[in-house]
Structures are given as structure tokens and as C-alpha cells.
Subunit: 314 residues, 2 copies
Amino acid sequence: MAVYTEVPAEELAEFLAAYDVGTLVMAKGIAEGVSNSNYLVETTRGRFVLTLYERRIDEADLPWFLALMDHLAGRGLPVPRPLADAQGRTLSRLRGRPAALVEFLAGVSLTQPQAAHCRAVGEALARLHLAGRDFGPPRPNHLGPAAARAIANDLGDRLDRLEPGLRDRIRRTLDQVERDWPGRLPTGVIHGDLFPDNVLFQGGQVSGLIDFYFAATDLLAYDLAVARTAWSFTPDGRHFLPHHDAALLEGYAQVRPLAPDERAALPLLAQAACLRFLLTRAQDWFDPAPGFVQRKDPLAFARRLRHHAAPAPA
Amino acid sequence: MAVYTEVPAEELAEFLAAYDVGTLVMAKGIAEGVSNSNYLVETTRGRFVLTLYERRIDEADLPWFLALMDHLAGRGLPVPRPLADAQGRTLSRLRGRPAALVEFLAGVSLTQPQAAHCRAVGEALARLHLAGRDFGPPRPNHLGPAAARAIANDLGDRLDRLEPGLRDRIRRTLDQVERDWPGRLPTGVIHGDLFPDNVLFQGGQVSGLIDFYFAATDLLAYDLAVARTAWSFTPDGRHFLPHHDAALLEGYAQVRPLAPDERAALPLLAQAACLRFLLTRAQDWFDPAPGFVQRKDPLAFARRLRHHAAPAPA
């Protein structure tokens, strides 16, 4: 939640000249995302978000992310459309960093979403999955079970420092997830990180889906499991919110009905989703990237995992 | 340049309900100022800046600062006007911090201002000094020579770690500044920190003077000396910019002609201004406030001091 690369107004004005967006009126570094620098930019023609991609992101992936955003926006999803410069490029450079200018979308992220918001998010996610069907080429999900295994091995004993026995608990869950991973469910574009801070609301409607930098091609039901992990618990993971969860699932299924085998796989996929966030947070906890000071509690997902691992109430 | 206090959208919406500003459309934490949290807030009625005052500021001073901003805005200066809530208060509380909602002013801060910008800043500063004449009560400047002496004593030997001999150089300059401090020059409201990041420009015009949290009552010519320290050098202090300096002085004097004794005092006041920023930066260098990670090079002002202490070229 910081601006890592400062952009002098003079350089920004020059940068904007390559786009058909008028001239600079105002620019503010905004605290958004955790690993890129973002500016809210206003010109004589409108408002935009300028993103400078910092070291944490693989530059080779950026054209795919930007093409996806353009594709989804073109299908009517509330996704910020990247602007092309006079040469037709959506990816540029500024201050030595890869940079892109995208549409600004109004709205606010909610800290305490209600069930009605969860229903709207479920609908939006299903629309995203449908709109992504004709987007290619695929991009492998680098944060699936194999990555979770690698991070868990790398952290080893240190996991027990977060909570005694956590290392074993993760290992056993990973064994199960790998063994039972469903092989034949529908795949497509997933957002991969649809947490409340990546959804904008205005007047109760979803006005923006943002931060596509964990998007990939994977099981659509896995993306739904990520969204449930994000929206169906209090942020600290201490409380499961059954009405929120039901609303999210219903909203999703209303737009894209789940096949029986997708529904059957949800409990396992929920565990996989918990592991993904538990382990990347644990990695950031023990080995924070230089300059990225904000650490989030990994145990918030160990608690969710406990919920999903417990037998359902009779 | 960070947001220290996060404000959930739900709490912000509730906060805004106390003002006659419509309902929340969008809010972004912005990287502005170094010691407060700022949000750019858009409602159905317009745009505003919400500031949450963090621990570095003395809460008892806030009503004076806000009244000053209101006074200057009322005199036609491009200063953000604080909004009053339904109870008529401009100072409120949010998330346990003192908070104020002020007008949003468009424009950008310049990193490489040109001489014409310096002239505009000189004019704006003089207009500020004239508009402040009928604002009372006075507020002592807590960052004058006495404060510089206290910080220098506190840092002691550590100053020499920045540059060999710096401690002695500062002591000798302080001796001179205290001995020759002009007693009878015109006083009034000073901004106290009119650096390029506190001035917004739009189309070559000054569209905003912001960050009044070092404002005080002191010699008006001292404020001009601070502005020269800020605008008449490259940021690292290595190069004096004579055309910028001349333009700033001319712009100022065109609106508020300097008395002969003010003009005579300028060299000494320039040294005092350098000491103020050299020493507060040195203090932040050695004893950074917790959570305020951005350190600025104190030697940028040791270099300016050297320029001012050198005999003028023949």
C-alpha cells in the first residue's frame, strides 16, 4: 500500500502525450495493490489509473494480463480497459519500469461486505468465467498445489513457529489435495485473487473488478473456492459467515450453474485455496521482499483451513 | 508518502453523512505529505481530501491551522477550504484520529519547476502574506533558531557522521544567526514549508497552496527565505539556480515590495532556513519516527548553507 516509484509530473505529462487522452490535470499516487505503484491520473479527457510494475511481477506475463483485461472489458465486464498508445501498445515504460495506463473505474472496496454484496460478487465472477471462455492462449497457474508444495518445503520447520503442528497439518492437507485433485472439471480464465479489495462497489452494484495479476488458466471451480475463502469469512478467518457463503454460491450458480462434479469438488478446492494464501503469506512473513513492509497474518488462512477440514455439521 | 490509518469505506460513508457533501462515490488513499494519512474522496457532490492527523502533529494546533486555511481561502487564495459538519466543526475524529475534510484542488506538484513557476510562487507567497495580515491570534514558530539550537545540541557528535566538521559549522552559523537575528522586521502568517511538493500548478498558474501544518507567525522575510531555499536550488542542493531565485524574488516583490531592512536581512535568513531543514532532516535521519520510513538527505541543506555562507561573487 505504497508508491514505490515516484513519477515527476513533467515525465508523466510527457508519457501521457503518447496517448490520445488530452493533457495532465492532476495525478496522485494511490495506496492500492501491494506490489505495484499506482497513480490516479486526471487529464482534460478523463480519469485513468497508471500502474508501474515493480520487481515482484514477471514482465513477460504483462501482455497476457493486459490482453485479458481488454478482452473482459470488451465483453462488458466492469474491468479497467488498458489504453493503447499511438503505436497501439498497451504496455509501455516509465521511470525504468514497465507501465500501463488503464481506465479508471469509480467505486469503493468494502471492508464489511454484506450477503447481498457476496451475491453480486458471485454473479460477477461467473460472468467473468463465461466471458473468458474465448480468451486464449492459456497461462498456467503458478500458484497451484505444486507451488504450495514447493513453498511448504522451503519454509519447512519455520511453519511451526506460526503455530505448533502447522507444518504437518499443511503436509497432510497437501497430500490429500494432490491425491484427490479433480482432473476433468471445466477450466478457463480465473481471476485467482478476488478478495474484497479487488472489487469495487457503487450503489450496491459491482462497479469494478481489478488487479488481474494473479489471473491464469485453471479450474473455474477453484476460482470460486478462492472467492469463498475471501468473502465467506471474517478477514481474520475466525468466523465462517454462512449467509455470505450461500449468497456467493447462489449468485455464481445463477449465472453459471455448477456441474455435479464441480460441486462435489468444492470442499477440496476450498482447502487448496486456503493453502495457497496461507503459504504465500507465510513466505512473505518470513522472507518479506525488500521494501514491501506490509505483512498479513498467515494464520487467518490456517483458521479457514480448519473450518474446511472439519466434518460438516450434521 | 503512505497511508498510516486505513479507513474502511463503510466508516467513511458514515463520516461523510455528518457533512453536506452527498454520498460516497470513490475514495483512494493518496501518497501525499509525509506524516498524515490522506484520502482523495469523491462524493455525488464533488471531490475532497480527507486528512487523518497522525502522531507527529500536535492536536492542539489543528484548529489554528484549519482556521488559517479557511481564512486564506476566504481571501481568494488557492488554499483548500475546510468543510464544516452539521455542528459547524471543521475538526472531527475518524478511526481514533483527528480528521478534517477539505476542498480538493486540482493541479500537479512539479519536480523541475522553471523560472516562470518560481515567479508565480513568489507572487502567491506574497499574496498569502498580505491575506494573513488580519488573521489572529498568533502562533509561535516552533522551528525557529531556538529549536535549531536544541536539535543541534541533541544530535551533538552525530552530525559529524553526516559530514566531518558539520557540527562545528552548524554551531558557528547558529551563533551568527542568533546574534544578528533581525528584531523589527514585519511579521505575520508564514507558510513555513513552501517547497514544490506543497504547490500545485495547472496551466502554468498556481492552483493550490497546501500543507499548512508548519504555518506560524514569524518574520515574513524568513518565509521568503524558506521559499528561496526550496525553489532556487536543485533538490540535492548541489546547484544554485540564479534565474529561479531572481524570478521568485521579483514575483514576491511585485505583490509585496520588500523594505530595505528586509532585503538586507535575506542572507542571514537564508542561512536560518537552511539550518531548519538541515537539522530536522538530520533528526529524522538518526531518530526516524516509528512507521515513518522515508528519510531525506540532510546534506542537501548543508550544501545550500555552504552557498549562502560563501562570500557573494564580486
